[in-house]
């Protein structure tokens, strides 16, 4: 190591390769608590993803009967009992805000729970690695095969693995498109080869991405493509539980024989026997014993790997565990460890989640099934008629969110001696209010003309409002606007 590096221009330039050669990572199969949690979550999340489109939900004769459906053609999003229109996109915004807050809370409580257990990249990679181990065996068997198995057998196994991968990837893309059309119908069309081109296109794209990302890219996505690891640093604090190697207990590490011998002599010896099972089990190939690092997705598999070894050699488990760096240091100093799940940060995140969720639920519960939007004519703002009265024109859009046609009576308030006409002419009630019928789950646009013969103040701008009333149910919706005069 020469400390004072000479700088003489290009001569001392780097002479290694420009790139980091990829280390192939073949994690071993592990068994334990966190592995079981991961399997359970994998089955739940993928089960929801693959099967949800087939769940039915009766919405009456005029609406699709699919529980979760993104109807791009008609601009509707259905989610069980909720139906969202394009202009209600703020519910999606609310969901995104909630998702961000939940991620913050997860991080504040126990680090990268999302990355380790729930992220699609993690879940599908996990599934693909399981297929790989199922077909080709675990890394040790694979190394054996490289030496002893026949070339044909290895080629066959590789082909089988890739075929299975592509099948899973194809199913993944297939499930995706089922969310955008009636699932049973589209599934039959796909089988018969009669589905629309756009469906095949998206299945193709998603098959390719799933196969590439989960089969080939794997940990590279987490390390090089995903911004989330970089955001971690800002979202965690000294109390957040992370997968931690308790070096206070583990160091100095040494082989089982050596540490046992040292312990007999009363010399310092750690519990870590340097068996490298934690590294072998890691899906991103890091050594957890180097401390927390960017590539670690906090999946807990090294905990399972280490615990199983500790059980075998009769030492206490938990050498690697969900813990904090602070506690490791405290134990080294002989202080009791501190665990604070309830602290300002987590309470704040939880409160924000409750508030945002509450606002969304309240908004959803109180939204009417009818509304009217009003657009005042810009040019001219008002018209003088031949008899001297003043008229303003408005474009109204009536919204009916129910699954049956409804008739609305339209009235004006706030304009003296108002006379309301609808361009094109419509039927009226006995009290003179015009009535229009709006189809199920439809909008209806009309041009409303409001005139008055009353004397208006100069430069009048009266606060007025349009009100629509459902004749059958009596529900009303009111939208304010202005009436302009000369």
């Amino acid at each position: 190591m020469n400390v004072a590096t000479k700088v003489e221009g290009a001569q001392t330039d780097i002479d290694g390769p420009l790139y980091e050669a990829r280390r192939k990572i073949y994690p071993i199969a592990v068994h334990g608590t966190f592995r079981r949690i991961k399997w359970a979550l994998l089955i739940i999340t993928l089960g929801i993803y693959y099967l949800l489109p087939f769940v039915r939900w009766d919405r009456g004769p005029n609406a699709p009967s699919q529980a979760v459906l993104v109807d791009l053609v008609n601009g509707r999003f259905y989610f069980f009992f909720i139906e969202i229109w394009p202009q209600e996109i703020y519910y999606i915004t609310g969901l995104l805000i909630l998702a961000a807050l939940v991620l913050f809370l997860m991080n504040a409580v126990a680090g990268r729970l999302w990355c380790g257990y729930l992220c699609p990249q993690t879940v599908w990679t996990d599934l693909f690695q399981a297929i790989e181990r199922m077909v080709e065996g675990d890394p040790r068997q694979r190394r054996e095969k490289e030496k002893h198995a026949s070339r044909t057998q290895r080629a066959f196994e590789a082909a089988a693995k890739h075929f299975l991968w592509i099948m899973v990837a194809w199913w993944t893309g297939g499930a995706w498109v089922l969310y955008f059309a009636d699932a049973p119908t589209l599934a039959m069309q796909l089988l018969k080869g009669e589905a629309p081109l756009v469906a095949y296109l998206w299945i193709g794209i998603l098959t390719l991405t799933t196969y590439a990302l989960a089969g080939h890219m794997r940990e590279q996505v987490c390390t090089y493509m995903c911004p989330w690891p970089r955001i971690q640093a800002a979202l965690t604090d000294e109390y957040a539980l992370n997968v931690t190697y308790r070096y206070d207990r583990g160091e100095p590490r040494g082989s089982l024989k050596k540490t046992e011998a040292l312990k007999l002599e009363g010399l310092p010896a750690g519990d870590c026997v340097d068996c490298h099972q934690c590294v072998a089990a890691c899906p991103t190939g890091v050594d957890i014993r180097d401390g927390s690092q960017l590539s670690c997705v906090q999946c807990g598999l090294c905990i399972d790997a280490c615990d199983s070894i500790m059980k075998k050699i009769g030492r206490p488990t938990g050498l690697i565990a969900y813990d904090t760096e602070m506690n490791v240091e405290r134990r080294q100093q002989g202080l009791p460890p501190v665990t604070k799940i309830l602290r300002a940060r987590t309470v704040l995140y939880a409160a924000l989640i409750v508030i945002v969720g509450g606002i969304m639920v309240a908004a959803l519960a109180t939204r009417g099934s009818e509304s009217v939007s009003v657009l005042h004519d810009r040019n001219p703002l008002f018209v003088q008629l031949s008899d001297g009265s003043i008229r303003n024109a408005y474009t109204l859009r009536l919204v009916n969110k129910q699954s049956m046609p409804r008739s609305f009576a339209i009235s004006v308030e706030g304009v003296p001696e108002a006379r309301l006409e609808i361009a094109g002419g419509v039927s009226t009630l006995e009290d003179g209010r015009p009535v229009v019928e709006v189809g199920p789950d439809q909008t209806y646009e009309l041009r409303a003309l409001v005139s008055t013969a009353a004397k208006l103040p100069a430069n009048a701008s009266l606060n007025m409002s349009f009100q629509i009333t459902d004749i059958a149910g009596g529900e009303t919706s009111t939208t304010p606007d202005h009436f302009k005069g000369p």
């Binding site: 190591m1 020469n2 400390v3 590096t5 700088v7 001392t12 330039d13 780097i14 002479d15 290694g16 390769p17 420009l18 790139y19 980091e20 050669a21 990829r22 890219m217 590279q220 090089y224 004519d377 810009r378 040019n379 001219p380 018209v383 003088q384 008629l385 031949s386 008899d387 001297g388 008229r391 024109a393 006409e421 361009a423 094109g424 002419g425 209806y444 646009e445 009309l446 041009r447 003309l449």
Partner: protein
Amino acid sequence: MADTQKHEVDAVTGVTTTGHEWDGIRELNNPLPRWWLWVFYLCIAWSVLYWFAYPAWPLVSDYTSGLLGWKSRDAVQTDLAALRSQRAVFAEKLDAASLEQIEANPELLAFARAQGRAAFGDNCAPCHGAGGGGGMGYPNLNDDDWLWGGSLEQIQNTILHGARSADDNTHMGDMPAFGRDGILQRPEILAVADYVRSLSNLQDKPGPKGAAKSEPTPADLAKGKEVFTANCAACHGDEGKGNIELGAPNLTDGIWLYGSDRATVIATITNGRGGIMPAWSGRLDPSTIKALTVYVHALGGGQ
């Protein structure tokens, strides 16, 4: 891997350095993954291929057109053709339906008004204003006063053939320049102007310079009525109610195309008026004219 013999390892990160150093600041060597570099090189290669595949380089009076033959102009044409075929369904319905049927059918009315609004903005707004609000000398299409009639049929006719245009079937009707051509003398013009303004209850009459406003005397009005009956009633009617056959405006209402103040009325009588509207029958296709008719009629003033 880089040759660690030559380059020291940074103590904090355990990463080798590149050997570069500026004022004691050394650069860590964290190489990119190989696939990342390959993607980068592919992008560079593609950018070069792009020059050949797509229009890219400007030449003196032309440009390299690209081997794929793609043009933004063609893309626009494709989109427009798709739009036309999408609209064709409704355009056929519009062609098949009468104007009254279009107004009675909410779906067709909505389509016709949307198409009409767009066509109006392209063709009519320069004179009549973006919303048909008109201006001095250009009729307001939102009110209920029509020079050439405000029924669907009449509006369509006016759009097709225009007013005082080159079209053979255009509306004709000229107001003579009574003053300029010496048909009426100045006092007669003043008297008839006061009379005409009285028809719509506009009585104010400026006095001599600086004096207060006055009102025309009954004798003035009687004289004006005489002149009116002799010269104006032929077109504007005995009571001044106007005549849509000739495009003669109603002089008894509150709507004045050129203004109702005394000086303007005098100028109108002196020099005559006759606005021109082009004929659209050759320029716009029938279904667009139908849509425009319905749009204008539904602006609120339709009769």
